[in-house]
Symmetry: C2
Subunit: 385 residues, 2 copies
């Protein structure tokens, strides 16, 4: 087939996709990447961080990105990688937890994980035969720390790791990680924080958007937080694939290393081998370009739109399940699956919660007030209010 | 930082990387992506196949790509995905083998795997607690089928899977998969073929490049070959990330599915969640543009260059470990690590074998005869011949 025809046909396929700027993607944690991404891609398309000796420049950028994200998370000496996404990041952290448990002579690896955890943890559990104890949620839909403490006091020595969430997929809640950290320190338990979504939100969340009585701290400043998932390709505005896994320091590397005889380096610690460098370079570019101030503006805009949606919902007597903690709104609905399918037929794509009967809207930067107005009218029509 | 400055700095980093067109990358299985990739990227940068309901056009392309690759591998009804690369693909296949074994009530999952297997299988083993029996190599450096058969005759019921290689990382050898298939059928054992490299070479390898007495067949035409790893981002000329995993049919999907409550679909079978669509679209474009004839030309050119290198080696009394099976040359060397480091100082990047004392050159499409001439002179200087 000729190039011209190939590109024409591709365009036809592409036209069938939704576009972020149309504002109809309301349930995704991804968004339109920052415009500089295209220029960066042009430069870095060929790079392969699976063999970093061939691409020392790009590898240097990855080290700087990890350092920058580390600083954002109060860690000046992090170790980590920019990888395919949150799933690989969470699996990577649990690979470490498993290996550490094995070195302590344990066969069974016991992990405490909140009911609100993302389904990537289910993939990890199944592959690695981890044993999960699901910790119920309290009335704020965050991990019940009292339950957690009681459980650990009961079986302290048997617990190898705790997963805590900073920005849950369903409701955007942040577990009380400062309190979890206290228990973990007392019993010497590893904490992995899944901040895939919240990692690029919470550090830039101004005081006026923080709920009273809510402790948003989730990062390496807390004892026993040894790894954090934080995805540039979610609220960091980077193109896919740019997920992030950070460990407290380089000492965790050895649990991940596998001998890599054919490369310019002798071992490989990432799960995926060959991996593109452009997500790394784009993340570097976007972080340098925006700076903390730029991210603060984006997060503030998303929070304002979040509140705007909640206000508009009230006009139509729709109820938000919780006061939004981050830029996610859960709309109470007696039959969310049915409603979401009806909305989809009307051209609005959002998804549903599991932990509560609700629709969810992730207020990503591509969603404007005009989109919100149109959506709320569609929802009202759909529910005949 | 200003955009102009950001791009300038990025350019400085990028200059430190090696470039494929300089011909000094001799040990990588990746290459300069086909030029159409940039135009495709421009169009598909924003797509996310982790949530295919939002991107039905791009998802349609993935289905077509899997069908096209399936046809190339003699399978008109394949099931599969374009994913991050060979590591994810191999892990995905072994997830299925493990799940099937568990459903048969087995706790321990026993897999026969040749000594020549890529280190991604080591990651899979460690994560999934698989039990490997390493099958030694015969004098052709392929899996010793007699050993394999004897082993299975001994412990038939205990073997849950066989991994076979079509294009080994070190020497480019192809296991005798037709013979392995016979044993596997007899004992009803799952075969996974790692054709990450060979998958886009063997189907386009003209008769005149095929070694006598060597059976190159490796695909779904053979009984019990239930999955194949085949990477467009290696000899398929696609940009990273574009790895491929194909299963014989859709019936294997259920072993991989995990409930995915927040997406437009209700389950997810890939290991990685969020994943870019542009590797898929680029693979589609390149396959349509080149067609089998285009790939045949590329493979032929790589084979001619492979033979050319072997001829030039002989002039300097360097010995090839085997007659090249595919476009990989192993150069016998009494101290390959030392030689490779010396060569690296001279600006030539190649790697070493484990199974034999040798340097290895992967004759990718970016390597020209001029590069080969310069390299062989450098090698001669390095070894003072």
């Amino acid at each position: 087939m000729e190039e011209k025809k190939v590109l024409e046909e591709l365009r036809r396929y592409r036209e069938r996709d939704l576009k972020y700027e149309e504002g109809r993607i309301l349930g995704s944690m991804c968004t339109k990447p920052h415009p500089i991404s295209r220029k960066v891609l042009e430069m870095f398309l060929e790079t392969n961080l699976g063999d970093p000796g061939l691409f020392p420049g790009t590898k240097g950028l990855e080290e700087e990105v990890i350092k920058m994200i580390g600083e954002m998370l109060h860690n000046r000496n992090p170790f980590g990688y920019i990888i395919s996404g949150g799933t690989e990041a969470n699996i990577t952290a649990l690979r470490v937890v498993k290996k550490m448990a094995r070195e302590r002579g344990k066969r069974e690896v016991n992990i405490l994980i909140p009911e609100s955890a993302h389904f990537s943890f289910e993939k990890a559990r199944e592959m690695m035969d981890l044993k999960y104890e699901k910790i119920p949620l309290d009335k704020r839909y965050t991990m019940d720390v009292k339950y957690l403490r009681d459980y650990i006091e009961d079986k302290g020595k048997d617990v190898d790791g705790i997963v805590a969430i900073a920005g849950s997929t369903e409701l955007g809640t942040v577990d009380n990680i400062p309190e979890i950290s206290k228990v973990a320190r007392e019993y010497n338990i590893y904490i992995h924080v899944d901040g895939a979504f919240g990692g690029f939100v919470i550090p830039f969340l101004e005081e006026r958007y923080r709920l009273e009585g809510y402790n948003y701290n989730f990062d390496f400043s807390l004892d026993n937080v040894f790894s954090i998932t934080v995805d540039p390709h979610k609220m960091g505005l980077a193109p896919i694939p740019a997920g992030g896994i950070l460990f407290r320091d380089i000492s965790f590397k050895r649990y991940l290393e596998v001998e890599a005889p054919y490369l310019t380096e002798t071992s490989q610690a990432t799960l995926v081998g060959t991996r593109p460098g452009f997500g790394v370079a784009a993340t570097w570019a976007i972080m340098k370009l925006l700076g903390p101030e730029g991210y603060r503006e984006i997060v503030s805009q998303c929070m304002e739109n979040t509140y705007y949606l909640v206000r508009r919902m009230k006009e139509y007597s729709f109820e938000s399940v919780i006061d939004p903690v981050l830029n996610i709104v859960a709309i109470r609905d007696e039959n969310p699956l049915d409603t979401s399918l009806k909305l989809r037929k009307m051209g609005w794509y959002l998804s549903t919660c599991r932990c509560v009967e609700a629709l969810r809207v992730v207020m990503m930067p591509h969603i404007t007030r005009e989109h919100i107005d149109k959506f709320i009218e569609a929802l009202a029509r759909c529910k005949k209010r």
